[in-house]
Symmetry: C2
Subunit: 209 residues, 2 copies
DNA sequence: TAGATTGTTAATCGATTAACAATC
DNA sequence: TAGATTGTTAATCGATTAACAATC
């Protein structure tokens, strides 16, 4: 337990969370690593290894309690409380994310959006105000913002990130097609959609040959 | 060269493509693995290994020709021609993707959108018609559709995928929060946004401790 | 108790890094 | 030719899988 958990393990946690949620929804209260292996496609061995990075959540001869395990993983992922979030860039993508209610349901509360375009500033999207980017600094500190979704174009992304970090932001969800340069204590999660599409293209080409 | 290229390598190709594009835009015609290492953050050794999976694109004592290398990677990724695409699900996410012109610029041409909701069917989004899902089968075959973006809710995603595959679709970009079950010759690329957000939450929680 | 299944150590596998001979 | 840098082999590192003793 403890030490440094590998990135590979952490990336699997949300998937465990999702499948355990589904089991709960179906009223299943108990599951073995073998059964979880069957439905998730990881090996039973890997599943046990993964969980044991964080402690012994199971019971020999029985398996895992679905509810308890789900809760533990939620806790590990930091999903027990709420996060305050904002979106920078009220273009198509920013607006789509604002309309996406799944994040809200999981505790990621959208407090405002920011843009520099006067045609959107002042409007509301899904009940959330679009403010001018010049008000961002004040808003972040006053409203205790935890996470920022960067939905600007690629040329503004780094400058935006710099300003956010200066004002204490430690978590950025970056949708702009650039690799942001940030200090060690800031975490960035990139969503580079076009790169996923290219990967798909690679395999499609292979399948056609 | 040849054999089976590892998934890890393939995932890096789009990033090489992006950085080489940038170098081209800046008028740089030549680069060494060492220099590329400096700007991309991969080791020079890894870069050379990666490229050599596909053949010797460099020249000893000189490095790599940026234009030639960029072209080779585009070719490997299958980005030389065009793809016909459709979107299933004209909700917020589907509409955002339809409005996202970057994909078009890279050769992924959106031919139509499909939905079952009469309030959107018949409308146009960014110049693309929203058709009724019942017309999908015909459209796919007539218009030679290569790639489908699934933007339905999670309950409809598998059924949609099944129908698509029955009608010959071999590449799916899945935005619904489920793991689609597909035959071996069908490629699926998942975008599970909420899982990325959970990962961000994990690291943010860690940074705060 | 006997059976089942975890927790955990050891073995294997694959990916990354280092080193260097080949060669432009 | 001398210097630079690739292509490629060997060494290392890390992650996955297998095995099994612990134990519920």
């Amino acid at each position: 337990m403890a030490d440094k958990i590998s990135h590979a393990v952490i990336r699997r946690l949300p998937k465990y969370h999702r499948y355990l949620q589904e089991l709960m929804d179906r009223g299943i209260t108990r599951i073995s690593s073998r059964e979880l292996s069957d439905i998730m496609g990881f090996t039973a061995s890997q599943i046990r290894q993964d969980f044991n990075n964080f402690g012994g959540f199971g019971q020999q001869g029985y398996g895992y309690n679905v509810n308890a395990l789900h809760y533990e993983i939620a806790r590990i992922l930091g999903l027990v409380g709420e996060y305050n979030t904002i979106i920078v860039g009220a273009g198509n993508l920013g607006r789509a994310l604002a309309n996406y209610s799944s994040f809200e349901h999981c505790g990621f509360k959208l407090r405002a959006m920011f843009d520099i375009d006067d045609t959107v500033v002042g409007k509301k999207i899904n009940g959330v105000k679009v403010l001018h980017a010049s008000d961002m600094k004040d808003f972040i500190t006053k409203e205790n913002i935890d996470i920022v979704y960067i939905c600007t174009n690629k040329d503004s992304a780094q400058k935006t990130a710099d300003e956010l970090i200066t004002n204490g932001i430690q978590a950025i969800w970056n949708f702009a097609p650039v690799d942001l340069i940030v200090p060690d204590d800031v975490v960035v999660e990139n969503v580079h959609l076009i790169e996923d599409l290219f990967t798909l293209s690679y395999f499609l080409k292979g399948a056609r040959k």
